[in-house]
Symmetry: C2
Subunit: 227 residues, 2 copies
Amino acid sequence: MEYTYDHPRPALTVDIVIFTLRENRLQALLIQRKDDPFRGMWALPGGFVHMDESLEDAALREMEEETGLKEAYLEQLYTYGAPERDPRGRVVTVAYFALIPADAPFRREGGSDAAQAQWCTVSELPPLAFDHTEIAAYALRRLRYKLEYSAVGFELLPDEFTLTELQYTYEIILGEKLDKRNFRRRILEANIIEPTPQRRTGEGRPARLYRYQPDAVAEVKARRLFP
Amino acid sequence: MEYTYDHPRPALTVDIVIFTLRENRLQALLIQRKDDPFRGMWALPGGFVHMDESLEDAALREMEEETGLKEAYLEQLYTYGAPERDPRGRVVTVAYFALIPADAPFRREGGSDAAQAQWCTVSELPPLAFDHTEIAAYALRRLRYKLEYSAVGFELLPDEFTLTELQYTYEIILGEKLDKRNFRRRILEANIIEPTPQRRTGEGRPARLYRYQPDAVAEVKARRLFP
DNA sequence: TGAATTGGTGTATAGTTGACACGAGATCAA
DNA sequence: TTGATCTCGTGTCAACTATACACCAATTCA
């Protein structure tokens, strides 16, 4: 089947920087390219936008194809459209970033196109195809920035978590130690999490479990304020 | 001439929210549509992305066609791609916002397509075509937010300005009165403007003229000026 | 020359942020 | 069963930041 237009049109894709916490590191999912250009190189997961789906739906579909996960925190990052960014022709891509919880049932064996997928610590990313290095760097910058003024860190944790786990999450992403008492004060005063009756037992004194308040999610999402 | 592809492609456009200060109001440029759909309705200036130009170049080109201005502060806002946002078919648009100085030589008589163009106070926008109301609202939100943490306000003023004019600019955009002494202290301590030897004379005591330090723009971008 | 107009300056108070140490509640091993 | 070990959970004080607030200065104009 062929499609004909009066004027030339760029191809439109979405690319997604999928973050998760694994092995006490912030990691991103990469796909090894099996075709030229950049064959064998690592790249961000992504693909073409279908005609009947929104950009966000396209990003979710691609994410599901690669990870098996249907839900995640997803936020539009930026749209990259330099004329020469893809050697095959004009391709404009809308970049997204996604956060998936540490305990999500990630399906490791690669996506629909059977390309190899692998988690990679964000501070040690290999060179990426196209302008994906730039996209990944921007995603990390946005995530860090966002963490400072919103509750987005919860999206990387299971439904219930201890304050210490939450603090570790922040420290891993921000790359710096935080003061325990000040951290707890700030988080609790922000009213974005609530205590549950449960405690998590293990080595040492049991820790109270918290969950984030579902209303807070919408609020975080509404603050898509930064370029 | 016709262009044929194996898979259907959305059309790709840019739309621009062009802000300026006029008559002590923050205004945006609107174009009256001369064709269906939404014939006669107001809309944001915009148009198709050419194959050999970046998205930003497309936005600048459209801006020049409508205003005659080639340079402005321009920032990508968000990409809108709901499947039904344009009744003619799938059209994805990359939205930008631009700031042009109050004294810029704006060419009033409409752009290349001879459509009628008009400045409109942002708090009194008419209903707009497509999803342009949403886009304009988001642009205003981003501008206000941005003003609080960056030097972007200067982009709406001539090269040289008084502190009172700068304060008015902030007040107009933020929609609230600011304290004169606190405002001056913050702006001056931020080291983003420098005094010139000139003064502006008029009614009352002459005011010192300032200009913004070109280097400062990038540096200050990360800093937060207003809480 | 003085009335009117706008420009330019400092201080005191409240609120926010950041640094900092120790007892509590559990497990585990002797 | 006891104490050694581990992690959890809590409050205060000092430094900094933000905010509220009023008057004299320099000029124009009548």
